[in-house]
Amino acid sequence: MGNANGREEGANGSEDPLGRSNGESCGNYGSNSQAPGRVPSSDSMANSPPTSPRRSRSPLLFAPQVPVAPLHRGDGGSPFYNQAWQHESHGAVATPLEQGIPVIITWNYGGNDVAVEGSWDNWTSRKTLQRSGKDHSILLVLPSGLYHYKFIVDGEWKYNPDLPSVADESGNVCNLLDVHYEKLVRLLRRGPKSLELKSPCLVPQVQTLDGGGWFWQKEDYVPEILDSVAEFEVPSSPESTYSWALPTEEDYAKEPHMVPPQLHLTVLDMDNQDEASPSKPQHIVLNHLFIEKGWATQSVVSLGLTHRFQSKYVTVVLYKPLKR
């Protein structure tokens, strides 16, 4: 076990161009989680050592397509939540609470020294772009919103005419950046070949990736169940289960099965606070109908249900009178 650990860590430590999922880049939410009830991953994890909190894993196996924002886990029992995301500082201007989204700004028109200034911190700081050949780029983490920015190329103020831009009252032209976190999905890197991304909003140019990294593309919804990833073929039920007989009287006399302990982790008990949003419910409690304890003696009973709507969760509590 220790060996296996060491091997993986070692592989991780080097400058591995394959996208690392140990939180160094763009918020690796949840993929280290081994909480039961999550999307089945045991098959792919068969050869990995169990319960090792910050253990990294090879990139292709598991990545839930969830929004980037680091989410709080209500159960508190998940030691796997990766804190590294929150201390990321690429000169980050977003605090963890604001759920910053990484965006890439590039300049492809040459120049020796390219920097960018923008309205995200009110034009106070100037960030130098990293150069690779003729291209310059920088990764910024920003909360969602609309930003103005401009490039300083070899000491001259310039804007990129290919990107969305806007002119203000005095005729200055700035580029526009629309950071929109509602419709994000993390693009799973599907293989060693390079990937072409075209996204008018977040990644302002066509990017060619040579392995490596997570990038963002506007998508309409974020499914939690990954039908499209081959590793997640749901195995069909064993044949024998399709021929069970109906329950008999004896079966009804027995005690009902124990409620799985995970179902106790419901958001329904939490107080209705409007400041802090309740934590994201566990996948396991979705679409289960809960009834208030001790309901038999009361005249009003409350029923609760949590379901998912696209990438958001809604808990509905209904109060119903009981007829006597």
Binding site: A69, L71, S119, W120, P143, S144, G145, L146, Y147, H148, V166, D168, E169, S170, E182, V267, N272, Q273, D274, E275, S277, P278, S279, K280, P281, S299, V300, H307, F309, Q310, K312, Y313, V314, T315, V316, V317, L318, Y319, K320, P321
Partner: protein
């Protein structure tokens, strides 16, 4: 400007300026500079300093009315600026949907329409929510919303007619029976059959924010439930969220926070753009349009709860500032404060006309509810000179639905600005 005596690094000059809003900038050794320690604003000439010059009001005597001078409308606001801002906000709202209002993990509390009204009252109070959608099991639909206004009307009914309902009937008077009765009542009062909304006003998660906002403004409700139905005929509806103008405002603020220069109207003080409802004297001075005919609703702190409730219903407002003899703000009574009466069944023991408003508010404050509180404060105030964006940021906080415009220092009530005022202005409705 000439250097001060004894202090060669400080310069001063005396200018005679007319009262109003001015901007200025310094030209230092050939360079345009602004003073960071003085109020400044980003305007047409990059960042400039700004100063507001007003004359002292000559007396605090009510009978004199306000001796406030006319404020000069700042030259930098023009109809074109307002139009540009409105257009940008309208574009933003049209391109974003109600789905964005949903929190990551939200909670909605619904009530069965056959629940007794009394129970419903208690549930709203315990859960600390102001409104709840009503679900009808027989129809399988959401049929309405129960709000604080319903309770106010019920209490007034009980107060007016003694108790037409016996104790037992009160226990079992269901919400649906109440809603039926209310519709009859309103038809009687109106005479001509104004079309009372019989169906629930709701929106879907893919409706644009602009449609939702206009729906809220036009139906004069506070909350519009977002309901999604996966089937064509609207069966099996799922309720997703209760949308309010405050949520939409939060979206706007979040989006434009970093590019405020694209909305020039936000820098303007609310007085000059005439947003909100103002007391009579100021409204006249400011040349408010003649639609502002309703007198501003305020109550003295010694008024009774019965008066407050009557005023809330008749004036069709959602809150009334409570003032003392000098018209200084003491507290504010909103419709949603009525649920505080559910504590210890106070509503059964009181007479509306014998309880003063302040005592009624005291009941609510004894309960540990954070609803409506922000930083422990119940009344949220602002000044007439505050720029619109500051007012909007305050209103975007959950639980804050209105700001009372007060005079600095004396806390004299000058007006009220609410979410619907801001939206009517921004959408040009």
């Amino acid at each position: 400007m000439s250097p001060m005596e004894g202090c060669p690094t400080v310069f001063q000059v005396i200018c005679s300026l007319s009262p109003g809003y001015h901007q200025y900038k310094f030209y230092v050794d050939g360079e345009w500079r602004y003073d960071e320690h003085q109020p400044c604003v980003r305007g047409n000439y990059d960042v400039v300093n700004s100063v507001l010059i007003t004359r002292e009001p000559s007396s605090m005597d009510i009978d004199d009315g306000f001796n406030h001078p006319e404020m000069v409308t700042p030259a930098s606001i023009s109809v074109a600026d307002i139009d540009v801002s409105r257009h940008r906000i309208s574009t933003f709202l049209s391109t974003h949907t109600a789905y964005e209002l949903l929190p990551e993990s939200g909670k909605v509390i619904a009530l069965d329409v056959n629940l007794p009204v009394k129970q419903a009252f208690h549930i709203l109070h315990e859960q600390g929510i102001p409104v709840a959608p009503l679900w009808d099991f027989c129809k399988g639909q959401f049929v309405g919303i129960l709000s604080a206004l319903d309770f106010i009307l019920i209490l007034r009914e009980l107060g007016n007619h003694g108790s037409n309902l016996t104790e037992e009937e009160l226990e079992t008077h269901t919400i649906s029976a109440w809603k039926e009765g209310k519709m009859h009542l309103s038809r009687q009062m109106d005479g001509n059959a104004r079309s009372y909304p019989r169906h629930l006003i709701h929106a879907g998660p893919y409706d644009s924010l602009k449609d939702v906002a206009i729906k809220i403004l036009q139906s004069k409700v506070a909350t519009v439930p977002i309901i999604h139905s996966s089937s064509q005929d609207g069966s099996f509806p799922q309720i997703l969220h209760l949308a309010t103008l405050s949520g939409i405002l939060k979206c706007i603020c979040r989006n434009f926070k970093h590019s405020s220069s694209s909305l020039p109207v936000l820098q303007q003080p609310i007085y000059s753009i005439r947003v909100g409802t103002w007391v009579q004297e100021i409204a006249e001075v400011n040349g408010q349009p003649s639609t502002m005919k309703r007198p501003f609703a305020m109550l003295n702190k010694n008024a009774s709860l019965g008066d407050a409730l009557s005023l809330l219903v008749q004036a069709e407002v959602s809150s009334i500032p409570i003032v003392d003899e000098n018209y200084s703000l003491v507290d504010i009574y909103s419709r949603s404060d009525i649920t505080a009466l559910a504590k210890d069944k106070a509503y059964a023991q009181i007479h509306l006309d014998q309880l003063s408003i302040l005592q009624a508010l005291q009941l609510g404050q004894d309960a540990n509810h954070t609803y409506g509180f922000l930083n422990g404060q119940r009344c949220h105030m602002c000044l007439r000179s505050d720029p619109l964006h500051k007012v909007m940021e305050q209103l975007a906080n959950p639980g804050v639905r209105r700001l009372v415009i007060v005079e600095a220092g004396s806390k004299r009530v000058e007006g009220i600005i609410s979410l619907s005022d801001v939206f009517r202005f921004l959408l040009g409705v």
